[in-house]
Amino acid sequence: MAYSDGKMRQVLKNIFSLEDRPRSERIGFIIFIVIILVFPWVVETSYARAVMIKFLLFALFGLGWNLIGGYGGQVDLGQAKNVGFGAYATALMMVWWKVPFWITILPGMAFATAESFAVAYPMFRLRGHYFAIATLCVALVWKELFVFWDWTGGARGVEIPIRPTPDFAYMQFGSPIYYHYFIFLLFIAQLLFMNWFRKSKLGYQLQAIRDNEEAAASLGINVTNTKVITYCITAALGAMGGSFMAAYYLYIDPDFVMPLDLSILIAMTVMVGGAGSMWGPILGAAILIPLDMYLGAWLGAEKRLGIDYMIYALIMMFIAAREPKGIWGVFERMRKRR
């Protein structure tokens, strides 16, 4: 490694240390971790456990999307395509070649990165709403392709066969507790990455671009390259969550892992929680995911009528009009006033 000992220590410190955050945040974070750790032992109902796993999954998606959407300020409405790439890479490789789950994660992330790199340069010639529309279209095209193609299982999707006995290599466990801890590990890994990222040169330069592209360029920042790199990292992180989805739900189809709803829900968790902040995506997922699942249960078949979408739209409008920095922005303002 090119790093000297001191440099390496500095990098590790940047990854693990929260010392620049206020005390209250650090205490809150520890309480949060403890709750997640003991949760499956305290709560026994499988529905609540499933809600918890979905929350962690979407917090993971949110953390990843926060890179391009929050710190970068580029509203990407196509993250579902990357989730789909990850999910399909895992499912197809496990079904076709019986590849162990753990090995399927990297190819999924690699494909998402490569695809994003290929589409990024033309897309970043666009700005604002036009960029958002372009991301949305690319994701929709991919979804249609996955429906159309036979080798992906088409609209029927892919089913991962259930093994007769729990099998660690294929991520099939006897109890949901294992899935809980596994997604928690992925979540923590991504959180540590974000902790490093927000203090990195790339992180600062990306925020400068979000705030003012022309000023950023005058400070030696290659605006397009920085956006492209971030877009690719975001894609890889989305694919990682997608792989988990395939292994956890054991059945995927384009409507489940690649729909527009998913892209929008991911973007929304970040915006509701607070785009461009460390904790925003987690807060957003903690509110929206239980809301989504309980609304679904409560409305039952009525959900199809779109009542839940109406509620989301109302939330979205309120956030956009009154609290552009989301719930975390409200916290920060309260803290400042004191």
Binding site: Q10, N14, K199, S200, K201, Y204, Q205, Q207, A208, R210, D211, N212, E214, A215, A216, A217, S218, L219, G220, I221, N222, V223, G276
Partner: protein, 241 residues
């Protein structure tokens, strides 16, 4: 020769914003660029700094041709600028704004932060480090933008109307700061300005533009006497008087 502009032309559609501009800036000089509204001063700045691609002509920096380079490469080679009407990053603190400038020369956050703190201290902004710039008065924001440009460690600093909108006391403060900066660092300044007292007080050479052309060049005193310059500012009627 630090900067050389040779026969630079910039057209927008049929409108000629810069016609055949040539100028030279020696290392260590302070050069003022003046002219009435619409003379093409900011266009010239944008052509040099990589925000516009010149239609014709060439730009050299330390004898190296940089014509048409993108802005980020121009910054890396050692030309920093501030903007007319300011472009501050509102969601980054004062310190972070300047740190982003310092990241032009380092990957290391600690080094960037240290450099930012040094510069902010020089600009009397040590108290404002953790404040968001939009909460501060315009004069302070201008100093932050100046510090941010300085943090990229430039050889040539281009200031686009840095004194616009400042009252006489604040203008004097900025002049003090610029003089101190120049003395402490090996800096060359190139500035456009409307405020005459400001340009005349600080520039060693003044270049005058009108209607896209360079019409005069010389020491501030010489230039102020020239008929063409008075005509450009006040109209033909006053030129003879």
């Amino acid at each position: 020769m630090l900067l050389e502009v040779r026969n630079l032309v910039k057209e927008f559609g049929g409108v000629v914003a810069n016609a055949d501009i040539s100028l030279e800036i020696e290392r260590g000089m302070t050069v003022g660029l003046i002219g009435p509204n619409g003379a093409g001063k900011t266009t010239l700045f944008n052509c040099i700094a990589g925000y516009y691609k010149p239609t014709g002509g060439k730009v050299f920096f330390e004898r190296k041709e940089i014509t048409g380079w993108p802005a980020h490469r121009v910054a890396k080679i050692g030309i920093a600028r501030t903007f007319q009407g300011m472009k501050i990053m509102p969601n980054l603190t004062v310190e972070e704004n300047v740190m982003v400038g310092a990241f032009c020369r380092t990957r290391d956050r600690q080094i960037a932060r240290k450099k930012a703190q040094e510069i902010l201290e020089m600009l009397d902004l040590s108290q404002e480090i953790n404040i968001y710039p939009t909460e501060l008065p315009v004069a302070t924001q201008k100093r932050i933008e100046l510090g941010r440009a300085l943090a990229t460690h430039p050889q040539l600093l281009m200031l686009d109307e840095i004194a616009a909108g400042l009252n006489p006391i604040e203008t004097k403060e900025i002049i003090q700061i610029l003089k101190r900066m120049k003395a402490e660092r090996d800096l060359t300044l190139f500035l456009t300005e409307h405020v005459m007292e400001f340009v005349m007080a600080i520039s060693e050479v003044v270049t005058v533009m009108a209607a896209g052309r360079k019409i005069a060049e010389g020491s501030p005193k010489e230039v102020a006497k020239q008929e063409k310059v008075i005509e450009a500012y006040l109209g033909e009627r006053y030129a003879k008087g």
